[in-house]
Symmetry: D4
């Protein structure tokens, strides 16, 4: 097959390899999924093109396709574990948040979406803070100036995974403004992933939530 | 004299020319001040070296020297007009804030310093908000991720002049992170000046506060 | 509804929330407008796609659509207040200027367009200066090297809001050249907004013009 | 006092405010420490100048000063909790690693230093992997091309906090090369902090290790 | 003819001029090939558009067209000489690897493709190392963080030609992340070519493999 | 001798090689001058350190040393030819202007310094325009936003050589802002040289002034 | 009319205003041409879209349309004056060279195209040097590393106007590599214009060739 | 000992580990040398501080110290093998060239220095070409625009290792201009290393010269 797959990753790293769908055909992705299914593993592909998502939806009866997130996945987690809320600054950050949410669902982590609580409306976040209580980690998705993770970080005691988005224009330079802002966050509990990196934001938050010790047992 | 001065600026622009002190000797600055004094104008020099500040303090009995701000000025405004608070995110942003404050005092504008209210301590700004009531404009000085102007902007109805500072390290790239963050602010009332541009931040806020109509009358 | 709206912003910040239309459907924008209309507020959406503008024009009889500006708005200001001229360097900067003009009209501010007075034709600006007399603030829109705000700033005593545009090619790097030029303006009364940020340029100029004190009374 | 301190942070965020020592005098730092001591809190200052470290060591009998890390701290954690190894690519990355280690010790987390295991000597990491067994999170410090976090990430199932350093020359552009490399890591469990951000790397790893639930109990 | 050709290059540099196909028509490329054929030279064109490749395939019976590599070539090397393996980090780096492979085949060098051995699966490279035994040079193609050349370089004693690709998104900035990583490689035997520069990577590796002395004799 | 010199350049290019003094000792520079004197050529060295200038002044009785320009030269032009004014935006741009002036004097071109006519004082340039009448080319030196060349270009029919300087701070990024501004000038007669490139600015203006045809005859 | 025109420019600057055609309709361009024709001026428009060129060709019988250059012009120069050769490094730099050539023809300057003499074929330039003899200035167009202007500059005594192009890929960053190379040219007679700035390259070379003194007389 | 050393590298990679001396004390370097001496290996340290070089010279009787190159080495190669000339563009590039030369000498490769043959003096390189005859590879060191490797590459059939230097000022951006130029070289045989990377340039050229097959036998 054209696209090889690292079946050992589940044992070594706790979860199976996730397919980077950019530039891959439905066939290439399905080949990986078939191999994973054969090894008793769950599967997730991110950044899948519209065409490939359509074809995979038709071929795989148990495929969970999320068009906003541009993901395809299959296989159920044994039980729900931990809690990771996903917060967004504006309406337009939604697709990246969805990629994080799909990744967390695939990992078996309980999630919540708290959308459109950016700092321009400062009363909105405090109103929603009760919903993030008990979080093991929070994923905060923001474009433009990317200020939300710092503010969320100031309210929480758990790690905050900041995901800059390319939302905005002009001097946002494709997400660079948000990225630099988050890297320089004055809140001590904020770490950062790549621009539009919803997958990785969700994945690391999920690792924290499932916890080092519980990992072996459940999967 | 080596450094020429634009004495017509007071009539044309409302305030006398301000000396950009970087790389200038005490003698060059004093020459400008002497010319301005002769024309009945007040004087302000910014980014003045330690040595030049010391010499000017010795030579001009009415010099107001601010070592934190690195400014020298002389001449009193006729009366106090308007109100512009200056807010800082962290302790280290103080010198840039002082440059803005000195500029505002020289313009005759009432000021207040609200220091160290950065977003990592989210309860600090709300506690101090009563002190900014009645502001004609606010100057917000912040380094690192530069998130404070967006948050202040969300609370106020007046213009916010955001001043990015070079405070921070690594991926702050000498203030670039704060600058880009402020330019991409999702708060609609935020405008931006150069990195470490305390003078210009104070000056434009002062222009707004003194108001277009009152300007001719008072000076 | 999919897109939430911050109805409290009008009371807190003086004007209702403005919709960032980029990537939003006509339906999402109309939902916000309906909520705002219900709360007795005026509405403005910027960066609205051609398709969404067409649909909104059909659905809302009182919609004011500006195709050059890519804006949609509804609701009349109670009375005209203040004066903000909008100047452009070249013919191609017009769309960004229109976004500023629409924002000012929506705020109820008197405006004037002074187009194509860039520095390559140095006689053009002086000829038109009488038209900016009495301005509370000026919005200056320029691409390429972005020199116009400095020149305008040298002639006026009011604040100048500089709006860099992405007009140009090669080493303009999508508006970066104009942006950096404006941030480093040697004119003391120049502040800057994002590249192509006609909305914010108009908005802050409008805030200055309506004046901090008059704001509560009129809207 | 000149430098204010956010004493509420310990309750809100799990650990007391950490002093950003850059540009601060011994006196400013000691004022914060005195306030924290008065509130029964432990204290940590990072990026403290040589002079300030010397003065603080003389004034505070219980100060733990680390010259390589440029840190000063006081106060003992009640008991050791969790395990976070710190790995470095080369000998020159040591100071940043020490800052992470000091932060972890101050948080009460068990640590281990695994130095000089960069990818140019590919046999070195596998030999030391047994020492990272049981890690709750790993901090990986690397300059130059910053490849080590990806390789470590491929071996571990826990989160990897990547800390780029400014070690190198030429096209490392002060740590930019390592930073970009880490942000684009193909290993799914890698998150990133600022260049030379040993403190934040250690802090977030420490948060993961102490665990959301245990935090309230112990401090 | 519209596109001139440097027929002397074969004598001077060991191999004929290679056509940079970007922006060239099939006709322009064929003119060069005809001139080269007339001079008894082999021909290679890279970065050829889909349309031009189709036309050239129809017009030249002995054309070897590689659609993945976007190359067209003709003419056989007299005998196979040397050995250069081409390694890739991920599935998506394949097209750039193919361009290197085609160049090596055109030069008469024996090759091998070792695909998808990126550092996120650390066991994969060691398993395949026997296949690179005896290499005169290795071409290593990688996008994202570009860590693979450093790891390969640590295992081999021959020169490693690192080829960064634009594969990835966000802060990969079109291949900049991989490029900077490779330039800062801590492995002493790694040299770098342009982003997506499969041709040059293959060409220099081929020069090393054919060897300075053998060059004159065989072609 | 340690530093070689290209004595053929005078015949080939119209003027002798100019020594790039950065990092060179007085001895290295004097060796070049001695060789040039021997060949009947004039000599010029730029960017000469304070120490080297002092030594050369002591050793060469006919040395013309300019401390502001950091140049050393010897040898008289046969007659004055052409006219090139040098204009500066601010007082601090003077050293770069002096380097241009020294280069022009060494070439035998008549010059004039028109200092401190930046755009923030818009009346200053028009007042001085009569002094540039008859110019063969103009050198315009400016830092910060670098707007002056565009304005000068709009008034003149001769070529304008724009020299960006590193004068400024913050987002001037060491002269980048002025450089980009000048490259994007909307005035059609503006060409650009390197940041702080007073030498090259003066040299090319001098070439234009001396005229292609007259060059052979006079030197 | 929608697009204004600066008819005074011909008197002030020696040549009429040139239309920047990017983003302009055929109608807007024709309006300017009509005004210029009415004032007895010649006309030139650059960067004209395919559609607008087609329409203008149909409407203006005397239009000279160059599809490679994307220019439209009308009006004959009174007589040919001066000589400016245009050199290109590679075949793909041709369109930018054509824009320079059209500009020179419109100015009435004699030209010659010397194409494809880049440094990779070092014998090519010396062979063609006789063709540039007598040049008043040379325009050198190059992409990729942009080395050709330095080499040409080393051979000639007249000014060299270097025009970087966006030809290339990867780390050429849209022409940045060539631009920076040319700005740092070690040849003293090289000045630079914007990336893909064929118009300005040709224009300034034309100004030099027509000569300051002859300008008034001939047009 | 504080600095560990990878003694296995000689067997794995053909040559012993080279010490990156930046930021290391004489003691740290001597520890590595002692370990290498004990293992029968030769030693080389680069980027060694003035102080450390002085101390090492005093302590190690067989140390070969090169102050220009900032290197220290010990141990003789068994016999001379291959030939690698090192060329520089200007006098100021010498220190980087010396680092390459020292590395080659330590590897036992015959070298030659061909200095100051930059493209501004185009006759200089052809005159010296006979001296590079028979080269297995060439190292070309250049700052400013970095054009020399392309020109050298056009003359030779062997690989050219281009080493950009930080020599220059302004828009050279610390060597970035030369680096980008070299990466975009239109000569097919040019590969690139880090800015000021004399060591790596010499090392890879040395690997090519010693040849893959001969390596095991001789050391
Ligand atoms: N959206 C994503 N962003 C970054 N990395 C990803 C993404 N999705 C999958 N990956 C990683 O990509 C690698 C697979 O790449 P490939 O071999 O090209 O399919 C795996 O190691 C995943 O961890
Ligand atoms: N053209 C614009 N540029 C920048 N910000 C805008 C623009 N139009 C609206 N906004 C802001 O965008 C925010 C709404 O974003 P959203 O929730 O995505 O609709 C509001 O706070 C507005 O102040
Ligand atoms: N200030 C300067 N800026 C740029 N190039 C210069 C300068 N002064 C001299 N040069 C050039 O530097 C070259 C000599 O450099 P070098 O061989 O290092 O002595 C000559 O080609 C001069 O044209
Ligand atoms: N290709 C071009 N590149 C840069 N500037 C140009 C170009 N063509 C025309 N111009 C300039 O653009 C200005 C006209 O701009 P506009 O008013 O938008 O038509 C004139 O001042 C010309 O000098
Ligand atoms: Mg919203
Ligand atoms: Mg604080
Ligand atoms: Mg115009
Ligand atoms: Mg080591
Ligand atoms: Mg894979
Ligand atoms: Mg001045
Ligand atoms: Mg060619
Ligand atoms: Mg020289």
């Amino acid at each position: 097959p054209d696209a090889s797959v690292d079946l050992a990753r589940a044992a070594r790293c706790g979860f199976p390899e996730v397919v980077f769908g950019e530039g891959k055909t439905a066939e290439q992705i399905r080949d990986v999924f078939t191999a994973q299914r054969g090894a008793g593993q769950r599967g997730l592909a991110t950044r899948v093109s519209d065409e490939a998502r359509g074809l995979l939806a038709g071929q795989m009866p148990d495929a969970v396709v999320n068009d906003l997130a541009r993901t395809v996945r299959f296989g159920e987690a044994k039980r729900e574990i931990g809690f990771v809320p996903v917060l967004t600054a504006g309406t337009t950050d939604r697709p990246v948040a969805e990629e994080a949410l799909e990744t967390l669902r695939w990992m078996g982590v309980r999630t919540a979406l708290i959308a459109d609580v950016g700092v321009a409306g400062p009363h909105r976040l405090p109103e929603r803070l009760p919903e993030v209580e008990g979080a093991d980690a929070a994923v905060v998705v923001a474009g433009m100036e990317g200020a939300l993770p710092s503010v969320v970080g100031g309210h929480l005691s758990c790690p905050v995974i900041a995901v800059p988005t390319s939302v905005g224009y002009g001097a946002n330079f494709g997400g660079l403004a948000a990225l630099l802002g988050m890297l320089n966050s004055c809140a001590a509990n904020v770490v950062v992933v790549n621009i539009d990196g919803g997958f990785k934001g969700g994945y690391v938050a999920g690792l924290i939530a499932t916890g080092a010790n519980d990992r072996e047992l459940d999967r």
